[in-house]
């Protein structure tokens, strides 16, 4: 690359010098005018020499060169946002999680233009109580864009989904959006571990809420719902892009923490015939992505707390984020958006709080890491 390393400050000063040199010779009035001018106008005057800053790119849905791809040809690209894993306690107990959920809602509401819809990624409540789900519903009601709800295990296992379904409808459903077929799964079913142990609902919920106790069963989509998925997809041509929303990852990352879907292979087999499949999942509370065959997987960030990467099983494609700073109540957390391209593949923008956003492009996943590599973390060297 270039010569010796230059600090940010040195580069800044050099550029500033160049600018001021360029301005010298202008009379004072013009000088002030130029100062007061908008950024755009000044740029237009070409007064600035090129620079070498590394900037965060805002991914725009790039028009597909081979736009003749069937299924989505001629359809506009679109963007949706997400808020996930809010894990709300009653507001009288914990206001930090409420504040974080509100922060995510504010972020999404500040987007301009607004996304087509907002996906809620699951785990709205922490312990599945009606009060918590109500609070979550109130917070999400502040979103300007329409919301698509998805259920997580923390919402479900107190009363096995009664309150959730009453408030938000069926846990799995599908819809079509601008040429894309969208499936929302309930992927956190668990085989009964509570009856034999004579657990109360609260005990069952408490067990599911603990990541590392090893008592609960592994997540699964389950026979019934896999059948539903097959039937639902029966009418969808293989050229139609698929978006699959799931709380559990739909692949096997780390069994001990239920970063896992037991029938992942079977679900993937159902999705295999499709040209373009993107799975958006929650539960893992970290920047995470993977490619298995024809399926791209993007994990969503949580708003409540971050999780470390598991000791084994991390997909090789994931470029890790540096661990969170516990001094910063929002570090390692955030929300984000997914830009769906005209060809049906999707790029993801991780809007990490208190860090620069990170964009992961479909090209990176689909090429198995050969192009468009996301930025690497800077681990402490000491």
């Amino acid at each position: 690359m270039a010569a010796r390393h230059k600090s940010v400050e040195t580069k800044y000063m050099e550029e500033r010098d160049a600018v001021l040199r360029g301005l010298r010779g202008l009379d004072r009035r013009t000088f002030l005018k130029v100062l007061a001018a908008s950024a755009g106008a000044v740029m237009a005057k070409s007064l600035m020499p090129p620079h070498t800053f590394q900037l965060v790119e805002v991914a725009n849905a790039a028009p597909d060169k081979s736009a003749a791809t069937a299924g989505m040809a001629g359809q506009p690209p679109f963007t949706f946002a997400y808020v996930s894993d809010t894990h709300l306690y009653p507001r009288t107990l914990n206001q930090r999680f409420v504040r974080a959920a509100v922060k995510a809602v504010e972020d999404v509401n500040a987007l301009d233009p607004q996304p087509d819809f907002v996906l809620f990624g699951g785990d709205l409540a922490q312990l599945g109580r009606r009060e918590e789900l109500d609070l979550g519903k109130q917070i999400l009601a502040e979103l300007k864009a329409p919301v698509k709800m998805m259920v997580g295990e923390h919402d479900w296992f107190y009363d096995l989904g009664d309150t959730w379904q009453e408030m938000f409808g069926p846990p799995n459903y599908s819809f079509d959006w601008k040429g894309v077929h969208v499936v929302v799964l309930m992927s956190v079913h668990e085989k009964d571990f509570w009856t034999a142990r004579k657990m109360t609902p609260a005990e069952r919920m408490h067990t599911v809420a603990g990541l590392d106790n090893g008592i609960q069963s592994r997540f699964e989509v389950g026979d019934d719902e896999r059948k539903w998925l097959s039937d639902d997809l029966a009418k969808v041509p293989h050229t139609t892009p698929l978006l699959v929303f799931s709380h559990s990852p739909l692949y096997k990352y780390y069994r001990n923490w239920n970063f896992w879907t037991d029938d992942a292979e079977q679900v993937q087999a159902i999705l295999k015939p499709y040209n373009h499949v993107t799975v958006i999942h929650g539960h893992t509370h970290q920047m995470l992505y993977n490619q298995i065959g024809n399926i791209s997987f993007y994990g969503m960030l949580s708003t409540a707390w971050p999780w470390p990467y598991a000791p084994t099983g991390l997909p090789t494609l994931t470029v890790q984020m540096n661990r969170a700073d516990p001094f910063d109540q929002f570090d390692g957390l955030g929300d984000g958006r997914i830009n769906v391209r005209p060809d049906g593949l999707a790029d993801k923008i991780y809007s990490l709080w208190d860090r620069n956003p990170v964009t992961v492009k479909a090209d990176y996943l689909v090429s198995h890491g050969k192009t468009a590599r996301p930025p690497a973390p800077q681990f402490a060297s000491y």
């Binding site: 107990l93 001990n256 923490w257 516990p326 001094f327 000491y382």
Partner: protein, 244 residues
């Protein structure tokens, strides 16, 4: 494991399996296609002990003082199998057989004298010092105590309220299985505290900040138990103080 030690283990294993037990016909039935295997007849015990037989079906010896159902201590078993092998070798002087190393550098446990008082293992070794005089019972007590202490720490680790937390956050939320606690990197300059910290200093900071409880005194048994649990999760990880 070396070939020698495998050989010894196999001998010991054979002997143990055959101690007073004949092959069960049910096992044989599972192997339908094969002809019935010979059954080794274990001779009767003459002195009220347990007869141990080698897998050749012939060599055997009686372990006096051992009752049926009782198991031998490791030291005793080593002695017994050694005897059996010696017997076999006397009868097969021309057979090639490697003698397994019997004096390995063992864990202290293998030198413990059993309650039955077998002094066999102390033959030819230093005696009388503190660390050689611990018994199986001692080790069991220690393990029990330590495991209990670690288990206490595990409970606290999963229970924010017990640490005085006021917002329902517990340690395991950000640190499942105590991951990302890296206790092996202390002492180190802890950025959040802006000073060189030990593990318990950081535990206290986390109790105060993300968990929003009251920091525990360094000698508080709860803090010590938490430290124990975290350290126990990192058994075998090399120490690397100062690493960030």
């Amino acid at each position: 494991m070396s070939r020698r030690s495998i050989a010894l283990a196999t001998a010991a294993g054979c002997a143990a399996i055959l101690a007073g037990v004949a092959y069960a016909p049910q096992v044989l039935r599972a192997q339908q296609a094969q002809p019935p295997l010979p059954i080794h007849q274990v001779p009767q015990a003459k002195d009220g002990g347990v007869v141990v037989m080698l897998c050749d079906g012939k060599t055997s010896m009686e372990v006096k003082g051992l009752k049926t159902g009782e198991s031998m201590s490791h030291a005793q078993a080593v002695e017994v199998t050694r005897e059996l092998m010696a017997q076999w070798q006397r009868e097969h002087p021309n057979e090639k057989w490697e003698i397994a190393q019997t004096e390995q550098a063992p864990a202290p446990m293998s030198y413990a004298a059993s309650a039955a008082g077998a002094k066999a293992a102390s033959k030819g070794m230093q005696q009388g010092d503190t660390y050689a005089s611990f018994t199986e019972r001692d080790y069991k007590i220690w393990k029990n105590e330590t495991d209990n202490f670690v288990a206490e720490g595990k409970d606290l680790f999963h229970d924010g309220a017990a640490l005085g937390g006021t917002i329902g956050v517990s340690c395991d939320m950000c640190h499942p299985d105590a991951s990302n606690t890296h206790p092996e990197t202390y002492p180190k300059y802890q950025v959040q505290l802006q000073k060189v910290a030990l593990l318990r200093d950081m535990i206290d900071w986390c109790i105060e900040n993300p968990v929003k409880g009251k920091a525990l005194d360094p000698n508080d048994p709860k803090l010590r138990a938490l430290e124990a649990y975290i350290l126990a999760q990192r058994k075998g990880v090399p120490l690397d103080y100062g690493k960030h």
